[in-house]
């Protein structure tokens, strides 16, 4: 999943990075095929080259040796809203048929079964990044037909990367379509984890296994 996410990034992209898998994927891309990837963390660090896996979004390790630290108002206004971000990553507790994402509540808003953390910066990333990738593990509870709460709208999500497959959003129908499978995963196995009548692209690709240099670089990042 990390390797697929990393491969989505092009050299020179300006990418808005969150903690966890996106941070790992971005640093993996930077260590391999995209040395000129510009990492911007929500906490305001620009051109960041962390020397450890950051503990949280405000980790001082993101600051030490970065090119610039902007106050948060500038992150949202001057970088995101002004249109300087090429790629944004979103996590998700739920993603539905139309790629709507929920990170707010499971159940009703007033009396939720599970209270999730909320939007954080997701709402503005979804509104302003030019290309939006969602990343989450494939799981029936995470892929309902309709999310309980639209934290970020599906309209601008272009691709959803999971640990089993990749979905692409079809602009015409607005639906997520299965576009690629990890080696050994079947269409039926994916359908069993998705809460709607999943359609596929005409040709469903197989995700190539990560090249050895990517795996070496990933191991190195994880041992930082």
């Amino acid at each position: 999943m990390v390797c697929v996410a990393a491969s989505e990034l092009r050299d020179g992209d300006v990418v808005f990075v969150g903690i966890g898998l996106p941070s790992l994927a971005c640093n993996l891309a930077r260590a391999t095929h995209a040395p000129n990837l510009q990492l911007i963390y929500e906490s305001g660090t620009i051109g960041t080259r962390p020397t450890r896996i950051p503990l949280s979004i405000g980790d001082p390790a993101l600051v030490t040796g970065t090119l610039m630290v902007a106050p948060m108002i500038d992150v949202f206004q001057l970088l995101l809203q002004r249109g300087h971000i090429d790629v944004g990553f979103l996590g998700a507790a739920q993603i539905d048929r139309c790629a709507n994402i929920n990170t707010t509540v499971v159940g009703s808003y007033a009396t939720p079964k599970v209270r999730l953390p909320g939007s954080g910066g997701a709402s503005e990333i979804a509104a302003h990044a030019k290309r939006i990738l969602a990343v989450t593990t494939l799981d029936k509870r995470a892929f309902p037909a309709k999310v309980d709460f639209v934290t970020t709208p599906g309209r601008r999500v272009s691709r959803v990367i999971t640990d089993k497959c990749i979905f692409d959003r079809d602009d015409a129908s607005g639906e997520l379509l299965l576009s690629a499978l990890f080696p050994g995963v079947t269409v039926d196995a994916v359908r069993a984890q998705v809460g709607w009548d999943l359609k596929t692209l005409a040709i469903v690709q197989t995700v190539a296994p990560p090249p050895p240099d990517q795996l070496v670089a990933l191991a190195r990042l994880r041992n930082q």
Partner: protein, 304 residues
């Protein structure tokens, strides 16, 4: 001892003077420079019915909720950053363990609310929230039309806390405070407030501040009290001073899941100590584990 000099007060006196029951309180710091020292003193003094404003409520909010200080939370992301959930917060919402009103935005929405308060404007416009459920959940998210283009934008109201508490790396005795590393919304939250408490790792001579005036983020003229509290942001980070006590952040998942363990924690480390120095005495070896490496930068020339 510099307490009493200028605006320098003990945390006990600063909280007693400036944080009152029912107040709207901002304790900011974007996972960095979080004034746990102030939050603990607020818990010790038994404040009630506070509205806490914080982008990322974090452990500091979970502790204040568990201690019964908070009746309303204004926020944009409620979690244990990089380590789990805030279970006292979740129990309040999911099981209605105690009454807790919420007023929820995205980060940009919260930043915009502080920015409006700081700027003396009643609202702040932003491009956001189209097709999301947030405006339905929160009537405080409205819209405004651009008088030039006719575009419809989202609008959020100014947030003006009664008191904002910010942790800074250093301050002089008048509250001229310098911050570096992640800046978060420390400046906006301070300017938005009626009263400001600056908590600093170091209290320095005014000449240190004057030597590098572009580093100053909060001017003393808006500050009401200055508290000297080394390691006052522990277990969070302070750039150039100490790293996060990540063991504690990870441990919080289990502590906060269990109401009894949480109470025991508060009894021992918050209510059971008189002040920050007693808290620190209960955490031996912090310096060895967490003290920052020296990565001092060069200065710049302010001559003319």
């Amino acid at each position: 001892m510099i307490e009493g000099e200028g605006k320098v007060r003990s945390m006990r006196d600063a909280v007693a003077a400036h944080v009152h029951d029912g107040d709207i309180v901002a304790i900011e710091g974007f996972t960095h420079l979080i004034s746990f020292a102030a939050a603990h003193e607020i818990i010790r003094q038994g404040r009630r019915e506070l509205t806490l404003c914080r982008l990322t409520p974090d452990l500091v909010a979970d502790q204040m909720i568990a201690a019964g200080c908070i009746s309303k939370l204004v926020f944009s992301w409620a979690g244990n950053p990089g380590a789990g959930s805030l279970h006292a917060f979740r129990r309040a919402i999911e099981q209605k363990e105690r009454p807790l009103e919420i007023d929820e935005y995205s980060h940009f929405g919260m930043v915009a609310r502080f920015a409006a308060g700081a700027a003396g404007l009643p609202f702040w416009p932003l491009r956001n929230y189209a097709d999301t459920d947030l405006p339905r959940a929160n009537p405080n998210i409205k819209s405004v039309m651009c008088p030039f283009t006719g575009d419809t934008l989202a609008a959020v109201p100014a947030l003006c806390p009664d008191v904002t508490i910010v942790h800074a790396q250093r301050s002089d005795t008048e509250g001229n405070a310098q911050i570096w590393g992640v800046l978060g919304v420390q400046k906006e939250a301070a300017f938005a407030a009626e009263r400001v408490i600056v908590v600093a790792e170091d209290i320095v001579d005014e000449s240190i501040i004057r030597a590098d005036p572009n580093r100053t983020v909060i001017p003393g003229l808006i500050v009401d009290a200055v508290v000297h509290e080394p390691w006052g942001a522990h277990p969070s980070y302070a750039q150039g001073f100490y790293d996060r006590d990540n063991e504690f952040y990870v441990a919080w998942e289990q502590i906060s899941k269990d109401r009894t363990r949480l109470e025991t924690y508060l009894d021992e480390f918050v209510r059971g100590v008189r002040d920050r120095s007693e808290y620190l005495a209960k955490h031996p070896g912090l310096r060895e584990r967490l003290e920052a490496d020296d990565r001092t930068c060069a200065g710049v020339n302010y001559g003319f």
